[in-house]
Amino acid sequence: MGKLTVSVSRLDFLERSQNPDGAWGYAPGRQTWLEPTCYALLALYPRQGRVFARGWDRMRGAQLPSGAWPAAPGMPEGHWVTALAITLHATAGVWDEVFQRGVAWLLATTGGERGILVRAAHFLRPSLVEFDSRYSGWPWQPGTSSWVEPTAHTLTALRSASGHIHDPRLGARILTGERMLLDRRCRDGGWNYGNKRILGVELPSYPESTALALIALAGNPGLDGPAAAALAERQWQATRSRLARAWLTLCLRRLGSRTDVLSPLATGETDVMATALEALGSAAVLA
């Protein structure tokens, strides 16, 4: 089966899975969350149909007064998913006030490890969790520490929209975010969820985190492109995680070294996020 047919089948599933409020849950008929909503919209963007339009309006309407997006509509707390909303705006080429406020929130949000108490504690016992405290990225939630996945998503978002961001903080945040990712790289060349060494013990990398970090760092001079592609390919071959393979496929397309023919969507499919990412992998919208 060819890519296009399979991708359309996934897009059909996504269209059928839209909740009555216009957004998506992680599974059809479940509570709306903005993470699967953004992925579904990114995958459906090329179709530009009524389903996309309803979802787009729902997503935009969920923005908080702070400029952030919450994990789910109605929650008052800002969330890392703001990065996905910005990537979606960049994909759609919408650079309006909603977009600008979201970007401003991202640029003002940083990992909690920049706090003086944390730095003091880290200074006292640096071997507990080894990281360079000069480099901060983005947290899952404001007020907590930087981790690989939200940092990678935010870097991808900011870089995809950089031509339309005029905030003077942009360059420095991207630079420090990239340095943070490079600093957290595991000895095996990939990325764990956030740490490389705890109590002196090396941590193994995860394929999901590795894929996201490599997407975020693509083109960075600190990254050896062919070696990165080889690592992603090895991890793709080694993992049986559907989610990891979906991320790695996107990564390999970004690095220009792989195009996949997707297998048909399974009967009884329920995973909106994985399906959307697989569809994106065949279209490479996100990357």
Binding site: A72, A121, H122
Partner: protein, 329 residues
């Protein structure tokens, strides 16, 4: 060095500093933290210790005997089994063994539960179904896919009063269960000392909001979060898989430790304190147990041991470097 003033404001500081800072501060504090135990509740608790040499034993029969010893009544109740499925590494014993989960499913069904579901929200890896596959859950647990709910992605509701948080979100599947069974693994833990029935509830917290890892819990403070979660889910029961536990650099990178026991009880504080004694850990050196207060009993004299005696099953687990002081005399 950390000053006395800083010690006194520990709760406040835990909320201010990051996981890394908190961990560093916590460990720096370990040697000088107060060791007095908060007074427990009135009455006594009972904990059942059962011997099981391997996962090939008749575990359903074993758990049935344990349930009877604990006077467990789940007739007509909606039961949520919460195993410890955190990461998979074939070289060690990270997760609650699939055969224990399968046996618990069989037992709670046999005991007349109206519904038995299985739920977990792993704290490191995002692909929960992949972890369940790797850990043998999908092959070894009947009807797993229909019964299982990924708590990281479940519908949620806000609760008030969780460790001082204005709002804290928890999965509806867990909040609506009549009883949550903490199917924990007996492991040492490099930050908490031990991870047993109570800390297993970290897996209930939804990653869709709090991330991977669930870093908000580290900011609140690991021990404070353990206690706050138990306050939210007091209708619980514990089954701790110590047939093969983990020692050393747990909860992920330690070594398998055959202890040959399953520990059960209604009072999760008492179960955890008993597990600590089996592992050769002084429960008074585990902060969440020391602070448990009215939530349950930790003193050996207030816990009726059923089944095997503590002395007959004690097997010292190698302790993480930061907890060497916690060895039970």
């Amino acid at each position: 060095m950390i000053s006395e003033t800083a010690l006194q404001s520990r709760d406040h500081r835990e909320r201010l500093i990051s996981r890394r800072g908190f961990l560093a501060a916590t460990v720096a504090l370990t040697g000088c933290a107060p060791t007095s135990r908060a007074p427990g509740p009135p009455g006594r608790s009972s904990v059942t210790i059962l011997r099981a040499a391997s996962y090939n034993a008749d575990l359903a029969d074993l758990l049935l005997r344990g349930a009877a010893a604990c006077h467990l009544d789940v007739r007509g109740k909606r039961v949520l089994l919460k195993p410890n499925l955190v990461e998979f590494d074939s070289s060690t014993a990270v997760n609650t063994h699939a055969t224990i989960v399968a046996a618990a499913l069989e037992v709670f069904t046999k005991l007349g539960a109206a519904e038995v579901r299985i739920g977990e929200g792993p704290g490191h890896r995002r692909d929960t179904i992949f972890l369940a596959e790797e850990a043998g859950y999908r092959r070894g647990i009947p009807d797993f896919d229909r019964r299982f709910i990924d708590l990281n992605r479940d519908d949620v509701a806000a609760v008030n009063g969780f460790a001082g948080e204005q709002r804290f979100y928890l999965p509806r599947t867990a909040l609506s269960a009549d009883i949550i069974v903490s199917l924990a693994k007996m492991k040492t833990h490099h930050w908490a000392g031990a991870t047993l029935a109570m800390k297993n509830f970290f897996g209930v917290v939804p990653g869709a909001i709090y991330g991977w890892p669930k870093n908000r819990l580290h900011y609140i403070g690991i021990h404070r979060s353990v206690l706050a979660l138990y306050r939210v889910f007091p209708r619980s029961f514990a089954i701790v898989d110590g047939i093969t536990g983990m020692e050393g650099n747990g909860p992920i990178q330690g070594s398998p430790k055959p202890a040959g026991v399953v520990v059960m009880g209604h009072d999760l504080v008492a179960v955890d304190a008993t597990c600590c004694r089996i592992m050769g850990i002084d429960p008074d050196q585990i902060e969440y147990l020391r602070l448990a207060g009215v939530l349950g009993h930790t003193a050996a004299g207030e816990i009726d041991q059923r089944g095997e005696t503590l002395q007959s099953v004690r097997t010292n687990f190698a302790l993480p470097a930061e907890f060497r002081h916690a060895r039970l005399a």
